[in-house]
């Protein structure tokens, strides 16, 4: 059991997905999905403690030795991402029951949970595997189920935004598989560790830089790096609330994980940053994303869309940290993976509570909610403070490390942009807070506070925002170890 944990992490949710469909009853399939998410969280936590105690864990699928067979490889970074994905799933699923019953037709609920668990399976698989083609397969599993999930939104525009995401996501996945194919044609291997050994010998060819470029663009599409983010705002806005909360806190994080894996583990930091100068592209784009997307967020009239643009800006912070290519910078990026999942998860779940009671996420519709839904809006405020980066929240920890990493390299301008981003975040969070707290509620039947089944999961994430904001020793420790591993082994 224990030695099979790396694969059970993925296989148990994979088995739970068809089971959630076969049981047919909405409540039962929810229970199956919940069980799978809790199992995945438990498995991820024990893998993380195992990796921290005794180093990376390898697993041979079907007893075939790597590099011939598919290998699952859990190191500090993959265990970290596994914890993020499964942890968010374990919080979103309790939240989903009431929210989904309100937003999705009854006979589609089993299909919904099947797709949600499949999506989680795909995301976990990307993090667990040590084989680049396997990454692509799991990427398709998670993306295809995500398109289906987004299309189940109530608004008819959910269909077009899902289609938009399908087109952009497929272009991204195609670019990734072209990059993988080119690497395979030059080295004859798909195993990450083996690729890392064989690539330097052929790196001088024309093919490998082309593979590098295809992978860079494909992964950037998937992680919604400005200006390849156009699929994201609509997808997040029109998806069902629980889906937005889950996908916003996990899917782009796993794409950032792919970025780290490909460019640090497979190509190696030396090739990526000293030969190919990836930072010269990533850094300006990240800086533009932080400023421009925060400005766009201020002008949004829909709460979910506002947070979606804020997500593109926040991805900018992660990519910015990575583009510094120093231990502190990469650690800041890895740390922000986790911290951003916590803040966006709680903010989108607060939006889900608003959607449940008000039936709309337009900022105008939130007038007076500070009085009528005090706990929901308080959760939004704490999440918003975290987004801004106020001390005692996780947002502060991320920005602290990011600013330190920038100053370490003497890049004062970057530190200034990070602080400017915080000011802009204050502006768009304030926009919602002002309407909710300083406008009188509209006349007519009053809105009640969201039910406890929605509030408790939301507040669990809010509490995590504060907990890891006050005691960042564990999270920062893991992030630093992952960053050292990425920069040490890859070069």
């Amino acid at each position: 059991m224990r030695e099979n944990l790396p694969v059970l992490q993925v296989v148990v949710p994979l088995l739970a997905a068809p089971l959630a469909f076969l049981v047919r009853r909405p409540r039962l399939s929810w229970l199956v999905a919940l069980g799978a998410a809790f199992w995945a969280f438990f498995a991820a936590l024990s893998l993380l403690t195992g990796v921290l105690a005794s180093g990376a864990i390898g697993y041979e699928i079907g007893g075939w030795e790597p590099p011939w067979g598919i290998e699952y490889r859990i190191d500090e970074l993959s265990a970290w991402v596994l914890v993020i994905v499964s942890g968010i799933a374990a919080v979103v699923l309790p939240f989903a029951r009431a929210s989904v019953e309100r937003e999705i037709e009854r006979d589609r609920i089993p299909l919904f949970y099947t797709a949600l668990i499949l999506c989680m399976t795909g995301l976990l698989g990307i993090a667990a595997t040590g084989d680049v083609f396997n990454v692509f397969v799991f990427l398709e599993i998670s993306s295809l189920s995500a398109y289906g999930l987004i299309a189940m939104g109530q608004n008819r525009r959910a269909l077009t935004s899902s289609y938009q995401y399908l087109i952009m996501g497929s272009v991204g996945a195609t670019f990734i598989v072209i990059g993988i194919g080119l690497m395979y044609s030059m080295t004859g291997t798909l195993n990450m560790a083996d690729l890392a050994e064989r690539l330097p010998a052929v790196a001088a060819s024309r093919t490998i830089p082309v593979a590098f470029a295809f992978l860079a663009v494909g992964v950037s599409l998937k992680l919604a790096l400005f200006p390849l983010h156009l699929w994201l705002p609509n997808a997040y806005t029109y998806a069902p609330s629980a889906v937005t909360a889950f996908i916003a806190s996990t899917a782009t994080k796993v794409a950032v994980y792919m970025l780290l894996r490909f460019f640090f583990t497979v190509f190696g930091a030396a090739f990526s940053f000293e030969v190919m100068h990836l930072d010269r592209i990533l850094m300006p784009l990240a800086l533009v994303a932080i400023v421009a997307m925060s400005l766009v967020a201020i002008n949004q009239e829909n709460g979910k869309r506002l947070l979606a643009y804020s997500s593109v800006a926040q991805i900018g912070y992660m990519v910015l940290g990575i583009s510094l290519a120093s231990v502190l910078g990469v650690a800041a990026g890895v740390l922000h993976l986790f911290n951003h999942a916590l803040m966006k998860g709680s903010l989108f779940m607060a939006m889900g509570c608003v959607m449940y009671r008000v039936g709309s996420c337009r900022v105008e519709a939130m007038a007076g909610l500070g009085k009528t839904m005090p706990f929901t809006m308080a959760a939004f405020v704490v999440g918003g403070l975290s987004l801004i980066g106020v001390p005692l929240t996780v947002g502060f920890i991320s920005k602290w490390y990011l600013v330190q990493a920038a100053l370490e390299k003497g890049m004062w301008g970057i530190a200034a942009v990070v602080l400017l981003g915080s000011l802009l975040a204050l502006a768009y969070v304030w926009k919602v807070v002002e309407v909710a707290y300083f406008r009188p509620p509209p006349d007519g039947p009053g809105v009640r506070e969201a039910p406890l089944s929605l509030l408790i999961p939301t507040w669990v994430l809010v509490a995590a925002n504060l907990w890891f904001g006050i005691d960042a020793k564990t999270t920062a420790g893991v992030a630093l170890r992952a960053a050292r591993m990425l920069l040490g082994a890859g070069s």
Binding site: N4, V7, L8, V11, L14, L15, A17, P18, L19, F21, L22, Y59, E60, I61, G62, G63, T114
Partner: protein
């Protein structure tokens, strides 16, 4: 419909052979080209031909959509379940050697079981997609 006697009789003659050929492709997949995916598609093609000639309503009587949907899910469970069985028998995930004393037999049974899962899911998904598209106008 009644005036297309040749089509109807022709389809009736062909369908059993199509299904049989699907099973040949499935079981011969161990030794030659073929396997679960191709077999599933061919098997589904038999039902698609039936639906085209005899109408969607009749096809849904022969192969109800509920059964097709269950097939799509069941195949995944057969595939992943094989992996779980090998783990329970003390091997790794999909380590077929654990399935029998003789590794050769183990590998054979493992591949057979996994390919059966692929057949069931591919068949289910193919027919579901056909039903979904074919049913659009009438519903």
């Amino acid at each position: 419909m009644d005036d297309r006697v040749i089509l109807r009789v022709g389809a009736k003659v062909l369908i059993p052979f199509i299904l049989l050929f699907a099973l040949y492709v499935q079981f011969h997949g161990d030794y030659g080209p073929g396997g679960g995916f191709q077999a599933g598609v061919i098997f589904a093609a038999g039902f698609v031909l039936y639906a085209l000639v005899y109408g969607l309503g009749n096809a849904k009587k022969v192969m109800p959509p509920a059964v097709v949907h269950v097939c799509s899910a069941l195949g995944v469970m057969i595939f992943a379940g094989t992996g779980v069985v090998t783990m329970l028998l003390g091997g790794g995930f999909l380590d077929y050697n654990a399935l029998a004393h003789d590794p050769h037999h183990g590998q054979h049974w493992g591949i057979f079981s996994v390919e059966a899962g692929v057949l069931v899911t591919v068949f289910g998904v193919m027919v579901s997609i056909f039903y979904a598209f074919a049913g659009r106008r009438s519903s």
